[in-house]
Amino acid sequence: MYKKLPLLLIIGVLLFALPSLLFALTADEIIGEMDRLSTFETTYSIGSIQTTDRFGTKTSQFKSWSQGKKDSLIEFTSKAERGQKILRTEGSLYLFYPDAEQLIRMQGAALRQSMLGSDISYEDMTEEKNTLDNYTAKLEREETFKGRECYVLTLTAKTRSVAYPIQKIWVDKQTYLVWKAEYSTAQGRLLKVMEVLDTFNSGNRVLPKQSKIEDKMKKNSSTLMTVDSFEANPKLDRSIFTLENLTW
């Protein structure tokens, strides 16, 4: 009887552990799922961006279309920016202004400029959804955030060309929505914090309705992104993601 105990113990442990082993996700898998659930074949949304800085608060409205991971078009509808468009395609960013007779191409260091004076830079906007290309992911722990159970992961940049060397993200265990993200330097200095304040459902996915981005280096600097309406996979004329269309 006693000789069989170690074997029983082993089998017992295995039996208990098996489910967890079977169902535990790796950091990479979490990230992969997170990316997958935030990517659509096409989208159309209407939203606003509210910027607060030393001079006060300002709001701009826009319409936005996207295609897969790489192409997107934003058109501003608020008065101060009416008619201005930002097109992201073929790895570059193009700006269209109604009073300009040429497109302005943003590349290299110019992308680091902030869009509309907000805490979001053009570079942030051209960020591709292939997180694992740029970062190594590590699962730190699980934590409850805003009443939701989340995975807390640390992303470490693989190369120097990644803007944020370290990211810490809170990913909803159920919906894979990123509730919070902390962006830091390699030394761990906090640069920006993104937090989702409200969500909405689209089909079986949960997406951020209102997100707040705060620049932690500058006091009194924050940006609020709000999605007012959203359409997943609408029929889109693909030509809107071309340069020719931009100048229309």
Partner: protein
């Protein structure tokens, strides 16, 4: 006794005309040079002040009271309302004219190539009293209000290979803290006497700039020109109070002397030049003193003779003093008159320097107008007289103390 001495002194002057003329000429040339030097310096100072006032500050500058605090961020939304302030200025008797301006840093795009420039929105018509664009044009013409046209510094045009007819796109941050871009046609190039403006600036009609930068009716600053002779500091305060009273708005209204950095540089340049003037003065004085002293020494025998004949001590000194005095009065007068006339003439005609200036090739030749000043001229005259009279004093006193025998032996 004095009149007798005076007569003797006078006769002495004519007795040895050559010597008198020599001495007088030295004094005259020195005095003339000093007068002309000051005329030149005044002209240069005036020129610098003019540049400062025309291109940067006006005589009085009006801005939003909050602007300075945030100046580093170029807060375009912190502007002043031109339409409301202009009538107040028009009412003020000390004001000749005023013009609105907007300074905005921008990126100039030609295709993919981009270059940082300083854009200035101006009312080309009103600017005539400040910057006469038509007269500094090198190519093309002055932009018209209401059109997307601009003027560009000639060095900038040359470096970017731009000519009138070319179009460029400007991208800038707006008053709503967003961005905007506008395409404008270059219709002319200008050569500014302030070198930096030639390499970095573009000038566009202010109404288009207000539209482009979403400024509505606001302008960033208003430059004001006052009638000649008014105290800028007093009028500045006056205007500030008037605007406060009529519009209930506080503004930053300052005279050009109180606009820190630029004026400091101007002051420094002024000091440097006056330092040189002092050197000059010393040189001129040295020549005067030297000449007068030489003459006294030359006349040692004569002094000895006079001494032997009974003229002594203070009388002798006074005699030579008087001689010196008369010669210097005439010599100095001749000198300053020639200097004054010469400066006046140069002031009318202008000194034109087309020599290649070392260093920065964004400079253009310009004309310098020396200025006459009656007050300064008279002071210089008096100074020369005093200096040369004093110069005769010391050696003549020494000479008068020498024993006649010694002096007579002098060869």
């Amino acid at each position: 006794m004095m009149t007798k001495l005076s007569k003797i002194a006078f006769r002495n002057i004519f007795r040895n005309l050559r010597r008198s003329i020599l001495s007088g000429a030295a004094i005259a040339v020195s005095a003339m040079s000093i007068v002309m030097l000051f005329g030149l310096l005044d002209g240069m100072e005036h020129d610098m002040a003019n540049n400062l006032k025309s291109y940067y500050t006006g005589e009085v500058r009006i801005r939003n009271v909050e602007f300075e605090k945030h100046e580093r961020y170029n807060p375009l939304h912190l502007g002043v309302d031109w339409k409301k302030i202009e009538p107040i200025l028009a009412d003020n008797n000390s004001v000749v004219t005023a013009t609105p301006r907007i300074n905005f840093p921008a990126s100039m795009y030609l295709g993919d190539e981009t270059h940082g420039v300083m854009g200035i929105g101006v009312d080309f018509e009103r600017e005539k009293a400040f910057i006469d664009f038509a007269s500094i044009l090198q190519e093309g013409r002055v932009p018209q209000s209401g059109k997307n046209e601009m003027l560009i510094g000639f060095a900038l045009a040359r470096d970017m290979h731009l000519t009138p007819g070319d179009k460029v796109t400007l991208l800038s941050t707006t008053a709503t803290r967003g961005t905007n871009a506008i395409t404008m046609e270059i219709v002319g190039t200008a050569g500014f006497p302030v070198a930096g403006l030639n390499a970095n600036t573009i000038w566009a009609p202010i109404d288009r700039v207000q539209y482009f930068l979403r400024m509505g009716d606001l302008t960033q600053e208003i430059l004001v020109l006052l009638t000649d002779g008014t105290d800028e500091k007093i009028v500045a305060t006056q205007i500030q109070d008037e605007i406060q009273a009529k519009l209930g708005e506080e503004t930053e209204t300052r005279s050009w002397q109180n606009i820190n950095m630029m004026y400091s540089l101007f002051k420094i340049a002024k000091i440097s030049y006056y330092f040189i003037a002092v050197f000059f003065f010393v040189l001129g004085s040295t020549v005067i003193i030297n000449t007068t002293m030489m003459i006294i020494f030359e006349r040692m025998r004569e002094i000895g003779m006079l001494s032997a004949l009974g003229m002594h001590g203070s009388e002798l000194t006074k005699l030579f003093l008087l001689e010196g005095f008369f010669i210097s009065m005439i010599g100095s007068a001749v000198g300053v008159i020639i200097g004054y006339v010469g400066t006046y003439y140069m002031g009318k005609v202008g000194l034109n320097f087309t020599e290649a200036f070392s260093g920065m090739d964004m400079e253009i030749s310009s004309i310098l107008y020396p200025e006459t000043s009656l007050v300064k001229t008279v002071i210089i005259w008096a100074y020369a007289v005093i200096i040369s009279t004093l110069a005769t004093f010391i050696p003549s006193r020494r000479a008068s103390k020498i024993q006649p025998v010694e002096a007579l032996r002098y060869v």
